[in-house]
C-alpha cells in the first residue's frame, strides 16, 4: 500500500480526467526538459541537413591555398583544412550525410527486423526458429566487426556502410518486436479480431504492430545515435565515405594528420558527431521514460 502511494494514483483515478496513452506520453515527455531540448536540436539538425548547403559561406570544395590549416577566425568559424577549405561549411554540409546514413540504415534495419519479428512471433514453429537462429548468429559477431566484414565484401563506400549498419541493427528490432508479438498474440483484442475473421496480415499490421510501436520508436531513436557513431567510425577507418565527401568521421580522420598544429581540424568534426549522437540518445532516453509505466513519478 505504501508503494501505491509513492508510485502515483494510477489505480484510483476514478474521478480524475481520463488520459489517453498518447497524451499521457506527451505529458511525461514534456516534463523531461533535456529530452525536449534534444528534440529541438534534432529538428534544427534536420533543417540544417535540408537547407544548410544553400546557406554556408563557402563551397565544400572551395580550395584556398592562401589560407590552409588556419585556426578559427571571423572568416572561418571552425578554421580551414589542409586545402584551405572552410571547415564550418564542410561540417554543416556533412550533417545531411550523417543524418541520411544513420536514418536510412536504421530504417532499413527496423523495417526488416520488424517484419521478421512479427512473422517469427506470430507464426512460431520452424519460421520462428530459423529467424531467431539467424539473429543469434548475427549477435555472435561484435557489431562493428560485422560491419567491417560486410564492407570488406562489398567494398568501401557510404552505400555499403548503410547496408552493413542495417544488417547489424536488424536482429535487435527482430527480437524486440518478436517478444511484443508473443505478448500481444494472446491478448483479448487480438483473439477478438481473429474470431471476427480478420486475416493474419490484418491482425499483424493493424492490431499487433501498433502495440509494438512505442518500443520500436524508442529503439529506433537509440539506434540512430549508435548508427551515426558506427558509420563515422567506418569512415574514420577509411571504409566508408571517400574524400572529398565532407563526412564527419572522414573529416576527423583527415584532421589527425595535422593534429599537432591544428587541433580545430579534429575538434569540430568530433564535436559535431558527439552532439548529434548525444541528442538522439537523450531523446531516446526521454521517450523511453515517457513510455515506461514503471516510472510514474
Amino acid at each position: 500500500m505504501a508503494k501505491k502511494k509513492t508510485s502515483g494514483s494510477a489505480g484510483m483515478n476514478e474521478r480524475t480526467d481520463i488520459k489517453t496513452p498518447v497524451s499521457e506520453m506527451i505529458r511525461k515527455f514534456k516534463k523531461q526538459k533535456n529530452a525536449v531540448v534534444a528534440l529541438f536540436f534534432i529538428i534544427v539538425l534536420v533543417i540544417i541537413a535540408l537547407v544548410g548547403e544553400y546557406l554556408v559561406p563557402f563551397g565544400i570544395n572551395e580550395y584556398d591555398y592562401s589560407a590552409i590549416l588556419q585556426g578559427p577566425s571571423m572568416a572561418h568559424w571552425f578554421g580551414t583544412d589542409e586545402f584551405g577549405r572552410d571547415l564550418f561549411s564542410r561540417i554543416i554540409c556533412g550533417t545531411r550525410i550523417s543524418l541520411a546514413v544513420g536514418l536510412s540504415a536504421v530504417t532499413v534495419g527496423a523495417v526488416c527486423g520488424t517484419v521478421l519479428g512479427l512473422l517469427g512471433g506470430y507464426y512460431g514453429g520452424i519460421v520462428d526458429s530459423i529467424i531467431m537462429r539467424i539473429c543469434d548468429t548475427l549477435f555472435a559477431f561484435p557489431g562493428i566487426i560485422l560491419a567491417i566484414a560486410i564492407v570488406a565484401i562489398l567494398g568501401s563506400g557510404l552505400g555499403n556502410v548503410v547496408i552493413a549498419v542495417a544488417v547489424f541493427s536488424t536482429p535487435t528490432f527482430a527480437r524486440l518486436v518478436r517478444s511484443r508479438t508473443l505478448a500481444l498474440k494472446h491478448s483479448v483484442f487480438v483473439q477478438a479480431a481473429r474470431n471476427l475473421g480478420a486475416s493474419d496480415a490484418r491482425i499483424l499490421f493493424r492490431h499487433i504492430l501498433p502495440g509494438a510501436f512505442p518500443e520500436i520508436i524508442v529503439q529506433f531513436t537509440m539506434s540512430v545515435g549508435s548508427s551515426i557513431l558506427t558509420a563515422s567510425s567506418l569512415s574514420f577507418l577509411g571504409m566508408g565515405a571517400q574524400p572529398p565527401t565532407p563526412e564527419w568521421g572522414l573529416l576527423l580522420s583527415n584532421g589527425r594528420n595535422y593534429m599537432l598544429t591544428s587541433l580545430h581540424a579534429t575538434l569540430f568534426p568530433g564535436l559535431a558527431i558527439f552532439l548529434t549522437v548525444l541528442s538522439f540518445n537523450i531523446l531516446g532516453d526521454g521517450l523511453r521514460d515517457a513510455l515506461d509505466p514503471k516510472l510514474t513519478d
Binding site: 500500500m1 501505491k4 502511494k5 509513492t6 502515483g8 484510483m12 483515478n13 476514478e14 474521478r15 513519478d297
Partner: protein
C-alpha cells in the same frame, strides 16, 4: 476495564503526507492510539485507509519515499521518535521497534543465506561476536518452530516454503527482543492452516519475549484471534476504537458494521454476505463531511456536511459517527 499497564507506544494526532508532482496526498490524517505494554492492538481497515503508512511512519521508513510526517507525535516509552534524526531512527529499527511484512515470498533477500540475514540484524544492534550472534539466531529460529534449524541457517530463501519464510521473518524481527513488533498483514499471503500456526506463534512469542504488537490487517477474523484492542481506520482516520470484546459485541460505526458483515459466520445461515458498496474515495477528491458518508446507508444530511468528532461510548469505546451522538457527549 481499568488498565494500569504502561503505554509503550502513543501516537498522537499523526499526519503523514505524500508529496507528489500533482499535489499532496494526506494518507494519515490525525490518527491517535496507544499501545499498552504486553498487549496487541489491531489496526483494521481496507487498503488505502492509511494503516500501512501509519506503520511506516512509526518505523521511520518513509525516508526515500515522498512521504513525510507533517504533524503530531509518536512516543516510544514517552520519548518522541517522529522528529529525531534518520540515524537515530535507524538505531531504533530492528532493535526497539521491528516489523514483519505481508509478503514473505519477497521480503527476504534472495541471494543471502538465512543465517546471514538473521545475524546481520543482531550484529547491527548488539556488540557481540559473530559466533554468539549465530548461536542467538539459531536459538530464535528454533523458537519459531521450524525444522532442521542448523541446515536452514545455510539455505537461501528460495529453498523455503512461504510459511517457513514468514517464521524466519518473525525470528528476524524478534531476535533483538524489541519493545514493539509491527506486523503488517503477516498472514494475508499464507494458506489458512499456516495462518493459524503463525498467529499462534506470534501470540506465544509475544508472551515469552514481552513484546507489544501492533497488528495491521483488513481481516476482523484475525483481529478476534490475536488482538486485545482494536482501532478501525478509514481514509487516514481512526473511526472507531475499542477493546476487542466491545467492538465485536457492539460495533458502532457503520463502517465497522460493514466490515463485520462481510465476514461469513459459522452457524449463521446467510444467503449473501453483506458488502460495503463503493470504494475508498480518491484522496484527491475527499468528501467534505464524514469520509464514509458516500458509502454509508445511514448517512444523513449532517453527515454529508460536517465531519463528526469522537463520541465516547463508555469503557474506552469511542466512535466517530453522528449516530453515536445521542449515546454520549463529545469527547
Amino acid at each position: 476495564m481499568a488498565d494500569t499497564r504502561k503505554n509503550v507506544l502513543e501516537v498522537k494526532n499523526l499526519h503523514t503526507c505524500f508529496f507528489m508532482d500533482d499535489g499532496v496526498v494526506k494518507s494519515v490524517d490525525g490518527v491517535d492510539f496507544t499501545l499498552k505494554e504486553g498487549s496487541t492492538l489491531g489496526i483494521v481497515g481496507e487498503s488505502g485507509s492509511g494503516k500501512s503508512v501509519t506503520s511506516l511512519s512509526i518505523m521511520g521508513l518513509l525516508t526515500g519515499t515522498t512521504g513525510k510526517v507533517t504533524e503530531g507525535e509518536i512516543l516510544l516509552d514517552g520519548k518522541d521518535i517522529a522528529h529525531i534524526s534518520n540515524e537515530e531512527k535507524r538505531r531504533l529499527r530492528g532493535g526497539q521497534i521491528s516489523m514483519i511484512f505481508q509478503e514473505p515470498m519477497t521480503s527476504l533477500n534472495p541471494v543471502m543465506k538465512i543465517g546471514k540475514q538473521l545475524t546481520e540484524c543482531i550484529l547491527q544492534h548488539e556488540k557481540i561476536s559473530k559466533k554468539e550472534a549465530w548461536q542467538k539466531a539459531e536459538d530464535m529460529l528454533r523458537k519459531t518452530g521450524v525444522p532442521r534449524v542448523e541446515r536452514m541457517m545455510n539455505e537461501y530463501p528460495f529453498q523455503l516454503s512461504g510459511g517457513q519464510r514468514q517464521r524466519v521473518m518473525i525470528a528476524m524481527a524478534l531476535v533483538c527482543r524489541p519493545r514493539i513488533l509491527i506486523a503488517d498483514e503477516p498472514t494475508t499471503a499464507l494458506d489458512v492452516t499456516i495462518q493459524a500456526q503463525i498467529l499462534d506463534l506470534m501470540n506465544n512469542l509475544k508472551k515469552e519475549i514481552g513484546t507489544s504488537i501492533l497488528f495491521i490487517t483488513h481481516d476482523l477474523g484475525v483481529v478476534a484471534e490475536v488482538c486485545d484492542e482494536v482501532a478501525v481506520m478509514y481514509c487516514g482516520r481512526v473511526v472507531e476504537k475499542a477493546d476487542v470484546y466491545s467492538l465485536f459485541e457492539n460495533p458502532s460505526h457503520p463502517y465497522t458494521r460493514g466490515l463485520l458483515g462481510s465476514i461469513p459466520k459459522l452457524g449463521e445461515e446467510a444467503d449473501e454476505l453483506e458488502v460495503i458498496p463503493g470504494n475508498v474515495p480518491n484522496p484527491k477528491y475527499m468528501p467534505k463531511g464524514c469520509k464514509f458518508a458516500p458509502r454509508c446507508s445511514m448517512a444523513t444530511e449532517k453527515c454529508q456536511e460536517e465531519e463528526p468528532g469522537f463520541f465516547d461510548l463508555g469503557g474506552g469505546h469511542t466512535c466517530r459517527c453522528w449516530l453515536c451522538e445521542k449515546g454520549g457527549g463529545e469527547k
